[in-house]
């Protein structure tokens, strides 16, 4: 029987072949082609001219690239810190079997995560509209403000509002992942600590957080990858303009504008690879940070 199963092992190649063929054509090839284009001045019509690292030099000297990078990192940073902490606390609370309505809370918090991000951006845009938005009418009606506020005219507010949308969409998702991690922690550990008179707060800080460290790292790295790619929400929120003074224009929005609106494909591809390098650097940094903490 052993010999028989060895003889069949080459069938594995047939089973995995369709995936790798599709991936090679529609995943790998486009990435490598993007890399090639990033060294050319391809405009989509004429044949690409090789310009060496010219595009990369230009990207590194482009103030707008830095601005959109700042916007992206600011929007991501402001949303990710509360997202990862609030969701951790929520997971701890909802892991308590005695709490009523656990499943309902879990579902309600998770729900915004699967809502179409683009539609959500548009919806928030409508609610925050200066003249017709529900928020201004509400605030005027309850007497908190006298005149409608032009929310969408304030650069900092626009960045914060994108952060809030991201928080809104992702805290439930992180919570579910933390909850899954909590299921893997032996409940006897918590019970023993409780018997020894440990308060919930201390159990949380000294048992739960250290034991969830791998999950926290996983969340940080996936949120970096996702964070740099923010596009749908700010795009529809600002109707593609990036908002006042391009305050909510993220790097991918800039990439989209450069490549597909101005048809500077070479420059756009260089932006894409610069962003990829930044993602790798940030992932390594966060990996080392969690490593160091666990040694201390």
């Amino acid at each position: 029987m052993f010999a028989k199963s060895i003889r069949k092992d080459h069938y594995g190649y047939y089973f995995i072949a369709p995936f790798f063929i599709l991936f090679a054509i529609f995943g790998l090839y486009p990435i490598l082609y993007s890399l090639y284009i990033s060294f050319t001045n391809f405009d989509g019509i004429t044949t690409p001219d090789f310009v060496g690292i010219g595009n990369y030099v230009a990207v590194l000297q482009d103030p707008l690239f830095y601005k959109t990078l700042f916007n992206t990192l600011f929007i991501w940073g402001v949303s990710v810190v509360p997202q990862l902490t609030v969701s951790l606390v929520l997971a701890f609370i909802l892991n308590d079997k005695l709490l009523k309505g656990r499943d309902i809370f879990r579902a309600v918090y998770f729900f915004p995560n699967i809502v179409t991000a683009a539609s959500l951006g548009l919806l928030v845009s409508l609610i925050f509209d200066w003249q017709s938005g529900g928020l201004n009418h509400f605030l005027v009606q309850v007497g908190l403000i006298d005149n409608p506020i032009n929310w969408k005219n304030d650069p900092w507010f626009m960045r914060l509002i994108v952060s809030s949308i991201l928080f809104f969409q992702y805290f439930g998702y992180s919570m579910v992942i933390y909850l899954a991690g909590l299921q893997g922690i032996d409940p006897a550990l918590q019970e023993a600590a409780q018997m020894d008179g440990a308060k919930k707060k201390h159990i949380f800080i000294h048992i739960i957080v250290p034991m969830l460290r791998p999950i926290i790292l996983f969340q940080m790295i996936t949120s970096i990858i996702g964070g740099i790619q923010i596009f749908d929400q700010p795009f529809t929120l600002t109707n593609g303009t990036g908002g006042p003074d391009r305050a909510a224009m993220t790097s991918i929005m800039y990439l989209y504008n450069v490549a597909f609106q101005s048809t500077r494909f070479g420059y756009g591809a260089a932006i894409a690879f610069c962003l990829f390098i930044i993602i790798i650097l940030l992932s390594v940094v966060s990996f080392m940070m969690t490593k160091r903490k666990s040694r201390a």
């Binding site: 991936f23 490598l32 915004p112 179409t116 009606q141 989209y256």
Partner: protein, 293 residues
């Protein structure tokens, strides 16, 4: 000593019982916190539904949280300007075919990795995992060029074919297969001289049913919500999937608020329905995928 201990234990038990039943200050705060967060999660969608039943005049002048009489007016207004059901059908077609394709190919691949010990298996699998770390935007420009060369820009194939090779699905199915499909079943099918692909299609695939359906819902929603790729690869209004169509409407009819709210509502409603029915499976597959990873 021996008599004291049971009493102590009983006291502890009583105390614990009391703390469970009593509504302490801490508990009230926790519930208030949980409930207010839940309200925040629901309000935007509630307002969306409410506002889609009002006309411009109401929306522009007052705050209201009660439904109005203009749902039908908004709908006829919208239907006269854009073909939202065409967008709906596009989304359904794209999400449906890419889900089925990526699940079938994902199962084939997961099976290959889980049940065959061929040379280079570990290396190829690590490569597959590594591709999950690469952001999709890297491929976007090359993809645009590739599909323009193939003459497939503005065609459904441009979205469906790349989506068919979904590394996460492979990973998820492989994990599930390793734990829930015993080698003996495959062995016995071989003894009965069933072909390898027949074994896969008739024996392995049916066992995968529950895992695949959970993953399928998730893949479907992911595809439904896809925005940037169709925005780049499609040009004609009648090809756009629903979310892109609705976002573009903002540019054309930005002042028609009832219409916009209704458009957003129609693009989100299928997701609400799917979630209402399958929330357990969706949340479960997210949790499983993350922890195993």
């Amino acid at each position: 000593m021996q008599t004291v201990k049971p009493i102590e234990q009983r006291n502890a038990a009583i105390q614990q019982y009391a703390s469970v039943k009593r509504l302490t200050m801490g508990k009230v705060i926790i519930y208030l916190f949980l409930i207010s967060l839940a309200v925040i999660c629901i309000i935007p969608f509630y307002l969306m539904l409410i506002y889609s039943t009002h006309n411009n005049a109401t929306i522009a002048s007052t705050f209201t949280f009660l439904p109005g009489p203009f749902l039908v007016d908004n709908y006829t207004n919208m239907a006269s300007k854009i073909n939202i059901w065409r967008g709906f059908a596009n989304s359904f077609f794209i999400a449906g075919t890419s889900t089925v394709l990526s699940l079938y190919i994902g199962s084939l691949t997961g099976y290959g990795f889980a049940k065959f010990k061929f040379k280079g298996r570990t290396g190829l699998f690590l490569f597959l995992l590594a591709t999950m770390m690469v952001p999709g935007q890297l491929a976007l420009i090359g993809m645009y060029r590739l599909f323009s060369t193939l003459g497939l820009l503005d065609s459904y194939a441009a979205i469906i074919l790349p989506a068919a090779a979904n590394a996460f699905n492979v990973f998820f199915i492989k994990q599930f297969m390793e734990s829930s499909i015993p080698d003996e079943i495959i062995e016995s099918a071989r003894v009965d001289s069933a072909g390898e692909f027949r074994t896969f299609n008739q024996i392995v695939l049916p066992i995968l049913g529950p895992a695949i359906s959970a993953l399928g819902i998730f893949t479907f929603i992911g595809s439904w919500n896809n925005f940037l790729t169709p925005l780049v690869l499609f040009f004609s209004l009648d090809k756009y999937p629903l979310p892109v169509l609705v976002a573009l409407v903002q540019g054309y009819y930005g002042m028609d608020y009832g219409l916009l709210y209704l458009g957003v509502a129609i693009s989100i409603l299928p997701i609400i329905i799917v979630f209402a029915v399958f929330s357990k499976q969706i949340i479960g597959s997210v949790a499983l995928g993350a922890v195993k990873g």
